[in-house]
């Protein structure tokens, strides 16, 4: 929504600043790694393609990782922002709705059950296959989203119903994952634990392309519906009186937000707190208006995850930490801070 000029200008300046910081951070993210590359070498590899080895490192490994950080950060943050709005709950996020737990269970199930079956059927290539694990995580994430929206429709889609359904689903899938861990052998247990840490090291050009295909239409759909989403802030009855089909908008928003989160979890595992804290920080920085909050969340989420990944790669180099550990260490205290300083500041 357009605001009085001065406030709007401040919001635009902050968005521009986020974009500039993001672009500035991409260069060191491409340069840093086990092979030290200069900015000139990276530019040559990207533009001229002189050195096949450098080109392979940049285009095959580092660029997918950077793009994965940008898209995963944006996807999780947008999901969080939208879910907080549609269920009118500041603690709302794809994780609160149980999607993360469901996707995690899907991954664990694929690791343990498919692993057993593949070994018995002499199909070793299917055991611990990242595609099967990702597909299973995605499938259960999707089932969770459909289940939640089904319950919500049946019970009238109230915010309380959605959160309660999310808590129940998280508990259920959490227990099921624990059971799988208990039943699994050492190798499977290690694989499950590895999946539980969100890790951008799994990024490949292919899964980055798939993520882009899911994220871009979702982002466009959300941006096209920012004004409708804004009306939900006034409450369901007022939104309905403004001509909004509240339940339909809420259902569609939850499904689309859940889907882009499920794609992220399926490819990179559980990256905690991004979807919860980034929308809050964005609202504190930029103020209100769903269009500004969604755009800001996408930029800030991308910036946050890229910076976290940079930290994960350099903190105890040459060991690369899973980015999920960094986001949890940064996110948990920040979320506590937000809880105690809830009142947003004006831009």
């Amino acid at each position: 929504m357009q605001k009085p000029r001065q406030q709007k200008r401040k919001q635009h300046l902050l968005l521009l600043l986020m974009l500039v910081l993001l672009l500035l951070l991409i260069l060191p993210a491409l340069a840093l790694g086990s092979s030290d590359l200069g900015l000139r070498e990276i530019a040559d590899a990207l533009i001229k393609g002189d050195d096949a080895g450098v080109q392979q490192i940049v285009l095959g490994i580092r660029l997918p990782r950077v793009l994965a950080a940008l898209m995963a950060g944006a996807a999780l943050s947008i999901s969080g922002a939208v879910i907080q709005t549609v269920i009118r709950n500041p603690l709302g996020s794809p994780y609160t709705l149980g999607l993360s737990a469901a996707s995690m269970f899907g991954a664990a199930l694929a690791i343990v059950m498919l692993g057993h079956w593949a070994r018995q059927a002499q199909l070793g290539m299917l055991a611990n296959n990242p595609w099967l694990i990702s597909a299973s995580a995605f499938l259960f994430g999707l089932l969770c989203a459909l289940f939640i929206t089904g319950i919500a429709r049946w019970r009238g889609a109230s915010p309380e119903t959605l959160i309660m359904a999310g808590i129940i689903i998280s508990a259920l899938f959490g227990s099921a994952t624990s059971l799988l861990q208990y039943l699994s052998d050492d190798v499977e247990l290690a694989a499950i634990v590895s999946w539980m840490f969100g890790d951008l090291g799994k990024a490949t050009p292919q899964n980055v392309r798939i993520m882009a295909l899911a994220l871009l239409p979702a982002l466009l759909w959300f941006l096209a519906n920012t004004f409708s989403l804004s009306t939900l802030h006034a409450g369901d009855e007022v939104a309905a009186s403004l001509g909004i089909r509240v339940n339909r908008l809420r259902m569609l928003s939850v499904v689309v937000a859940s889907l882009i989160t499920a794609v992220t979890v399926a490819f990179f595992g559980v990256i905690a707190f991004v979807g919860l804290i980034i929308p809050h920080i964005t609202r504190r920085l930029l103020g209100f208006g769903e269009g500004v909050v969604l755009t800001g969340s996408a930029l800030l989420g991308a910036l946050f995850l890229l910076a976290s990944d940079l930290l994960a790669r350099t903190l105890v180099a040459p060991v690369v930490l899973p980015v999920g550990i960094i986001t949890s260490f940064v996110g948990a205290p920040f979320f506590l801070y937000l809880l105690f300083h809830r009142l947003p500041k004006r831009p």
């Binding site: 907080q84 006034a234 403004l242 001509g243 089909r245």
Partner: protein, 255 residues
């Protein structure tokens, strides 16, 4: 002429428990209608049925001589505006953003220049220009109600329905809100409000709907506000007092 009419209107949240029972009534055009009655008599439920927020199980509602069900969502929102009893935003919003929501029925994607002008006009009309960028939670109760009315007026409706607009307000703000609603009526808009204070209704409203246990006890002009009707309505004796040409009802000291 009636802005809204309803006939044989029945509604219940549960199948065998009717909150509204076979109601027949009207909201006269370009007048201020007060819907009065004790707690739980179905006043708010009636307003929500008139807003199409609830689907009646029986009966017919007509808005501007057209069946309410025939209106498309946006068309209805351009005709009928609603101010809820409480509208607590989860994330803080300022006055301008809140009033801008009222333009939604007229906008498909994002508001244009004309929408911004109408929002500014609605804010100015409510005397809130200097608080355009103030957070709602920083405003007084009366100012917050003015913002909600400004949001509803930004919808450019023909009819405005309000659910207890004076609830939780002190005397000064109750008076302020009712004076505001009178100004809205003078602009040619039909207003119907659920009210609890009989004297406030008597002072500012033109038409009265008295509800008890899901039924309409009486409706019409100020003449329906009699000691007998009000005693029946609230199950307590009331005395009608007159001084210097002003009339009011008193429940205290009458037994």
């Amino acid at each position: 002429m009636s802005a809204i009419t309803f006939q044989n209107l029945s509604f219940g949240y549960r199948r065998h428990h009717k909150v509204l029972r076979q109601l027949n009534g009207e909201v006269p055009a370009q007048k201020l209608t007060a819907i009065l009655g004790p707690n739980g008599c179905g006043k708010s439920t009636l307003v929500k049925c008139l807003m199409r927020l609830h689907q009646p199980q029986q009966g017919e509602i007509k808005l501007m001589d057209r069946a309410l069900g025939d209106y498309a969502h946006k068309e209805l929102a351009r005709t009928l505006a609603y101010v809820a009893q409480s509208s607590q935003a989860i994330f803080p919003m300022d006055v301008y953003s809140t009033v801008m929501l009222g333009r939604k029925p007229h906008v498909s994607w994002r508001p244009g220049r004309a929408d911004h002008q109408k929002v500014r006009a609605a804010i100015a009309d409510m005397g809130l220009t200097d608080k355009m960028l103030t957070l709602l939670e920083e405003l007084s109760g009366g100012e917050q109600q003015r913002v909600q009315v400004a949001r509803a007026l930004a919808q450019e409706p023909a009819v405005l329905l309000l659910d207890e607009p004076t609830a939780n307000l002190d005397l000064k703000y109750q008076k302020e809100v009712m004076q505001l609603l009178r100004r809205v009526v003078e602009q040619g808009i039909t207003v119907a409000a659920v009210l609890h204070d009989v004297n406030l209704a008597l002072r500012y409203a033109d038409h009265f709907i008295l509800m008890k246990q899901g039924e309409i006890l009486a409706q019409g002009g100020p003449a329906v506000l009699t000691e007998k009707n009000l005693a029946l309505l609230y199950e307590t004796p009331l005395t009608c007092l007159t001084k210097d040409g002003n009339t009011w009802f008193q429940a205290w000291g009458t037994g």
